[in-house]
Symmetry: C2
Subunit: 263 residues, 2 copies
């Protein structure tokens, strides 16, 4: 049996149910390359469950998952992953391989940035369109710009996840992400993301020093939002309650918020 | 200080961080009317934190939040909510009222159906468009149909939450939801949701008897998916890995899956 258990966004982000399953498992693995978990203390978790947790590298999971699968054939194996499991394709792939080898699987959910970030900003999650990932500058893509454009046409909010190469300790930051979008605007020129676009940065969601900061792009682009992980939200039309929330929680100036309130 | 703490989708769905905060709180409230949490044992949670949890009714939160706000002015107060906090407008409203009265607030996130359901079905969360709620038949709305139509135009998946009136113990079930969409199809006739549309039902996500079942609408409409809560997913274009996942995890027949794979 292979149990995928979400670690959530920060230390102690695992649920009680997840901890229970981890305690019952005979072997525990973790992958920490699909995201960064601030304040995670694996040793403390190990002492709590009286078991070692073997941290796997990307290639152990994607190229050579045999060790995990072989153990899961005989034992109850826990596989810890950042956030809510199954957001990353690699976990769906591993679960499929397991089921196809006759191994029963189970998912223990946890917190995902996809609802945490909207919640922290006070934006309604049902008003988000498709989300996208902003890549590092050396892997340019026009997709994020196109996703934003379509969401804007429908008045919807857009969540941008920021690229990560955890094994090289590389994390795209919000100010770099804003520059990436401005460069796409320069290149494509469809007035989707300009210096006057209302944008919200959410940093270290769920941790004790999380930040939420919004404003016009020109007022955010030179700011330092501290340590990763960070995400970017470009709001669409705002309901008056969302507008109030952005003013209060993201410190967006009143006049900027007002420009985005839907009629 | 007012700390919003997510209870997640099922019993023991609170995170370790949430439990810690709850233990440190001097007073604890809960609202259980915005969703239904299978296997939730409030008494067990109370004995774990050695504190009573006062369950509030809808009007206590929406009309008369004074009790909560007054306590939070003097003490550290925990406010427990289903899922991930701030998905429901009512919590954003309460948080705003608190901050405007000078009360510091904090959010401790938990599992949300918005990532759990896609994960259980093996569908990629970034390929979801806007989500919508399907209402009870006595409050008809064309919005869900329109949301689905727009998502379909873009090849995106659609998550439908199902209406709930927890205080009257009324929960819309997936088979009723399918009928609602078929009636909208009958009325509007834009071939958005027909008897041949691929659909996936996720029931009791995260609980020990959760189910995931997909197929053509005509093969699902007469099925009984058991107890609430349930949600509906209408997939858009499928990546080959999503197709494999739907076959394996949602038991969708191979030929039905194949019709929806993107070229």
């Amino acid at each position: 049996m292979l149990v995928f258990i979400g670690l959530g966004l920060t230390g102690n982000g695992i649920t009680l149910k997840g901890l229970e399953e981890l305690q019952k498992a005979e072997k525990a693995y973790a992958e920490l390359y699909t995201s960064l978990i601030p304040e995670l203390d694996l040793e403390k978790l190990e002492s709590k469950i009286e078991k070692n947790i073997k941290v796997l590298q990307r290639e152990d999971v994607e190229q050579n998952p045999q060790e995990v699968l072989e153990s899961a054939k005989k034992k109850k194996v826990a596989f810890l992953v950042p956030g809510d499991p199954m957001i990353a394709t690699t976990h769906v792939d591993l679960r499929l391989r397991a089921e196809e080898s006759g191994i029963e699987t189970k998912i223990i959910h946890s917190v995902s940035i996809e609802t945490a970030a909207p919640g922290l900003a006070g934006l309604q999650s049902y008003k988000f369109g498709r989300s996208a990932t902003l890549p590092f500058p050396d892997k340019p893509s026009e997709t994020p710009y196109e996703v934003l454009e379509k969401n804007q046409d429908m008045g919807l909010h857009t969540l941008f996840l920021l690229d990560i190469e955890a094994e090289e300790e590389k994390y795209l930051t919000a100010d770099q992400a804003i520059k990436t979008l401005l460069e796409l605007e320069n290149k494509l020129g469809r007035k989707v993301f300009t210096k006057d676009t209302l944008t919200v940065v959410v940093g270290r969601a769920g941790s004790s020093d999380s930040i939420v900061k919004g404003g016009k792009v020109k007022d955010l682009v030179e700011e330092d939002f501290g340590a990763p992980p960070q995400v970017l939200i470009v709001p669409g039309n705002l309901h008056f309650l969302e507008a109030e929330a952005l003013e209060e929680f993201a410190k967006v100036p009143k006049e900027v918020v007002q420009e985005n309130v839907e009629e």
